[in-house]
Symmetry: D3
Subunit: 115 residues, 6 copies
């Protein structure tokens, strides 16, 4: 299965399971997450790039995939994505290289050129 | 193979390998780990929940699995487990959501309803 | 000035400043934080201990101070607090020792025996 | 002494000391850091906001101060800065609140209203 | 496929992809990484062990694999590798145990005794 | 007061307080910490450098001070210390620069040239 489909399917299925448990704190936090990236003083595009770089420096592969998907929907270019990768690589060093590899593979698939 | 069996089998096999190397520091640390969760001023159940939330905020999937297994043996309920998940989600934010998904899947299997 | 007063004064003053900026996401997240520790399937006391151990393993001194203050209000004993410290020390190793020192100093002051 | 002056003075003095030791790897890494934020596919302003959010989620107070200083030079507004704070608060949770307090105090001073 | 071959193949393929994008910051950082471990005041062997322990305490499995591979090329012994594992286990606690398991499995394969 | 004296005095005083509480897990962990750096397959000097780089990449200022003190007792040279700093800076990026500044100041004092 493709990396993108596998990620999205598991994400949907498990989010549904978790939300079915009716824990109010989790539900509200997750709602708030959606609001965070709404157009405001900063554009949604800028905020998604903030979410992407935050995910990279925290080395969370699934979070990176999520924000790469959003970036792709917002027509972020490959050059822009790699500049975000570069900021992450400088800020948090070579420890992020393995995550950059997986991010690059996922991005190739999003833009139609699976690695 | 089930998530639970796969985790436990690999854990046992590799722990045996590591302990066979006779590194005294590792052996003593691992023994001490067992003592940490013994009944004391706090109950073993409370301590296991502390171990679970610590594992979640540190985003260590295998540590989460280990403490979920222990929590299940101690008859922790699904509502209690989700309140631990909620604390972890608030304290450390959306970065822990992917780990919450995997934790939720593992818990379903422990309680007999594999996702 | 005492550690406790210094922490609480700065916390109040800066929280007021931040909330005066009317960022809705921050306001809602902070409200949600209060709800998280409410009585539920787990007691408020257990949840505060979860918040404390999470703060320790993430090595956030001010978060530790906040939860120690709450624990003190809830009549948590010194023996219980040190068992939380012990879990944190085992889970995240000697890197947490300097934070344990500052936590111990703050706790002494809370219980009326400033170090 | 003001927070801004204290930070900048110590930073300059210690950077000079470190660079005087002629460690080539450190020198080159630090040069590269400057290049990272140059105008490119993304603007310098966007990259500085990326550096700011990365510093916040990694909870590095001095890194936050550095990028707030740069943001101020680039005429970033208070509303924009607080949207970066909001992304950091959602992504990495309440653990970042104490750092948000110190960031807010530093920003007030930069815009001429010391807290 | 063997753990070692799988790691090296993916690493080579994805590094080539990333470098083909001509992001200068990433290229220079990665070059600098190679220089860091060159013979100097400290031997290359000591520096590789520093890279290994850093990778362990940061809990980056792929970084651990990379430095284990380098350590093996430099004739580091199993006893030496386990003393590095021990330092990592003490410094960062039981949270690193799952990474120690995977590191141990990879090392067995490098020395010709796949687990 | 000097950085070195201030660190050592607070460390001694608070360690005594913590150990006086007789938490067995903490006592045994701290004893084990001493054993970890004993001469073995690797020399004490190499192990102290491992402890130093681990402390740096985990960004624990007090842990850095402790291992710099030990390194100084073991006649580690300034060039060697800066090569450890360089490994830490590459592995974990610019986020470690503020900690490198404080480490450099502490080292100057140890070698008799307070910054």
């Amino acid at each position: 299965m493709s990396l993108v489909k596998e990620f999205n399917d598991y994400r949907s299925k498990m989010n549904d399971l978790i939300l079915s448990k009716d824990n109010l704190v989790i539900k509200r936090l997750w709602n708030l997450d959606t609001n965070t990236y709404a157009e405001g003083a900063l554009t949604t595009k800028t905020k998604e790039l903030l979410g992407l770089v935050a995910s990279m420096v925290l080395r969370c592969d699934d979070c990176i995939k999520y924000h790469l998907g959003k970036a792709h929907e917002l027509n972020v270019t490959t050059a822009e994505v790699y500049e975000v990768f570069a900021v992450a690589n400088i800020v948090v060093g070579t420890i992020v290289i393995p995550h950059t590899r997986r991010a690059a593979a996922y991005w190739e698939e999003l833009v139609g050129k699976p690695a």
